[in-house]
Symmetry: C2
Subunit: 489 residues, 2 copies
Amino acid sequence: MLEKVDLKNKLKKGEYSAKLAELGLQLGEVQRRAREEQRPIIILFEGWRGSKRSEIINTLMQNMDARGFDVLSSMELIDVTDRPAFEFFWNNLPGLGEIRVYHRSWYYLRNVHQGHSCETSDMYSYNHINSFEKVLTDDNYIVIKFFLHLSENAQKKNMTDESSLGYAIRSKYLSEHASEGKRADYQTFFKQYDEMLSATDTENAPWNVIAADSTRTATINIMENIIATVTAKLEAGKVDAPAPAREDVKYDALSKVNPAKEMTKEKYKEKLAKYQKKLQKLQVEMYKRGISAVIGFEGWDAGGKGGAIRRLTSGLDPLGYQVFPVASPTVVERNYNYQWRFWIHLPKSGEFSIFDRTWYGRVMVERLEGFAKPNEWQRAFDEINEMEKQWADAGMVVCKFWLQIDKDEQLRRFTERQNTPEKQWKITDEDWRNREKWEAYEDAVNEMLVRTNKDYAPWTIVEGNNKYYARLKVMKTVIDLFEKRLAQK
Amino acid sequence: MLEKVDLKNKLKKGEYSAKLAELGLQLGEVQRRAREEQRPIIILFEGWRGSKRSEIINTLMQNMDARGFDVLSSMELIDVTDRPAFEFFWNNLPGLGEIRVYHRSWYYLRNVHQGHSCETSDMYSYNHINSFEKVLTDDNYIVIKFFLHLSENAQKKNMTDESSLGYAIRSKYLSEHASEGKRADYQTFFKQYDEMLSATDTENAPWNVIAADSTRTATINIMENIIATVTAKLEAGKVDAPAPAREDVKYDALSKVNPAKEMTKEKYKEKLAKYQKKLQKLQVEMYKRGISAVIGFEGWDAGGKGGAIRRLTSGLDPLGYQVFPVASPTVVERNYNYQWRFWIHLPKSGEFSIFDRTWYGRVMVERLEGFAKPNEWQRAFDEINEMEKQWADAGMVVCKFWLQIDKDEQLRRFTERQNTPEKQWKITDEDWRNREKWEAYEDAVNEMLVRTNKDYAPWTIVEGNNKYYARLKVMKTVIDLFEKRLAQK
């Protein structure tokens, strides 16, 4: 893509100032419209070192409306190179009607990662990058990507500014981290960049390669580009991304499972103590190795999720895990893509995040109650598989439990809750309504269990009529998965 | 406070299990009531190393409702020792109706700070600690503080558990950071703890010293204590904290200032270029020294805040600063104390946070429009002084600008905005309404400028009728303050 860029074009100073003022007004206008229409906008800048990203972004800032417009400094990226890909950007996603400018982005992290790590890592594969961008654009985020291109001469000339903040930052970074090694030459980078651009130049998030030998020309081009792109997206309005092709099959996973298993209290107590000790040990080992885990719990209402989580955590040190109960999204959470509220709770190095209900709400309650449109929940199977793959590729243990009870057992438990004063708060009208839709839920759950059961993020169906049995099975499964992961390098 | 604690008391196992189950139910009940009544609760645990904080907190978690109940691992504190005191806790404050448990808190950071730093630091002074807690309790946060006390024997016995997660964390931490030095003996710690407890045992946030030689007894006491405290606070309902005594004086700062100053465009252009270069240099020096700055802008509507900020930042690299426009609080922001939305935007090391309107809204618009109660805005003068002192004690440059124009100049600018199509969005009915209250605002501004003008966080009144003059004065003031700060060690 870089070959065809004309680097000679150059604006005169008088022309530039006049254009700048005019475009600034238009940009402000476009910005206010986007805010009114509640469209989130991401504008990212990549390109050669020395391509004057800072200067260009500052000119943009001087000419835009500061409200709802945040520039994310690439300084922040220095601290997140070890974190799962995209986590930082999820944490700093623009909300509805906001603009976020990334002064370097996931493409930069991809490069850092490739440069610093001896192992090949899949964290920032082109596939993950394209998928990440697609999740956003399918959700009507406007994503505008700029690559600032320089000729070899301009690049050499611009590189020497040792009085800049960028230089100071780089120096500090280099003295604190492993050396970046010998810098490759222009041609090597050229090829690398060109490959990256081609591989990630998608219809939904295309690259805009900007000739940046002249910073002024580049600035004007960028402003024109933002105005044109945002205007076009606003005119088109929010679009329902097409649902992916879907096989017309009857999925089944639940009918193979008999939820009634036996377990005596004595045996339970004996094993419980044993498993608690084991988990305690494993938690320390996982911490030392810096391996984290995401553990999700789903299941029928009154299926025993809470009890299973309590037993699982009973042996753990609260220093190293957090439980996140998931309910219908809050006002804040509705400001973002549905994945957001899970990404922001990813575990730190060596810690565990346990979710009581999960992102699978998308293909269960949101699907059945109409909170998600058909194209949205149908896309969600692939999106969720991809999200969990990203976590797994970052080295995490990812696993999911479905707590399976039968309809009679649920009725028994509902009735017991109803009749026990201190348990009444646990049962609501909604639970009874959901129960009436048992068969519809069963279909949705079956599809979910089949389509999102992956090596890197397996479902475990837990026979749940007997609580003792269920709790131990959960603990044992986690123990096995941790041991398996610890056995890997 | 520690002398009188009876460490001998011990529960039998049977008694314990029965109590635990009973208290767990009560705790869940109390928790749901606090959520309904939208009271945020902070529960913090300090105490001797080896006092089984983790075990106790885990038992609590097993017996409470996980919804809205978060434990903040002290693991997280390792990374924030260099940040301004309390910032981390503001970032992790419970919202309305939430419970946050701190497994170690600002008291721990105070100790780390004292241990590791050669210089005396005021960051975690008792005064700052008491003020921080008071801001919260005055705002009807429920703050419950536990100190887990151990006898010398129990402390020695408990210390040796090298298989624990806490031990693994400490080892990792010690290998990554400066050594903690030789551990002091029990008596030395005893005296230190005792002093700390006495100095911070306030009426609004008293210490609960818990005898923890027996973990079981401690757990039961803690649960009883939480139930009793929260119940009492809920029965009392939300209380209006008394307004501090207020002098009945006519404050004046504005009348001494003549907003009409002269400045030609030529002189402006010449100085502008010079100041931009200077600021660019200073930004790099500040970054290298790790000195950050908080710069706040207030002023009459159409006073020229936006223009002044744009000129100030025109020479800066966007890598190192962020502009935060402040409007009326969002749904999210209303979930927290009014200071929250400023704390979460504190600059990182060597960076600048620029606020377009600030926390002073509390004593201006919120005061005059009745969004804050009299006792709230009257408390705010002291609260804000204290907040800025905390920032300054963390080494930050803190400064504030008031852009002063006269009533005629405002009318001229309003009319110009009204008559210029691309500026119309800048003027609203609210601006005209505020203008009618000019005199009331003048009184409020005068009180603010006098009562919150401090050495460590000075106000600069900027004569604003002439925009050129005003912009340069802002830039020059920042330059001077940065140079002064850089001249200090």
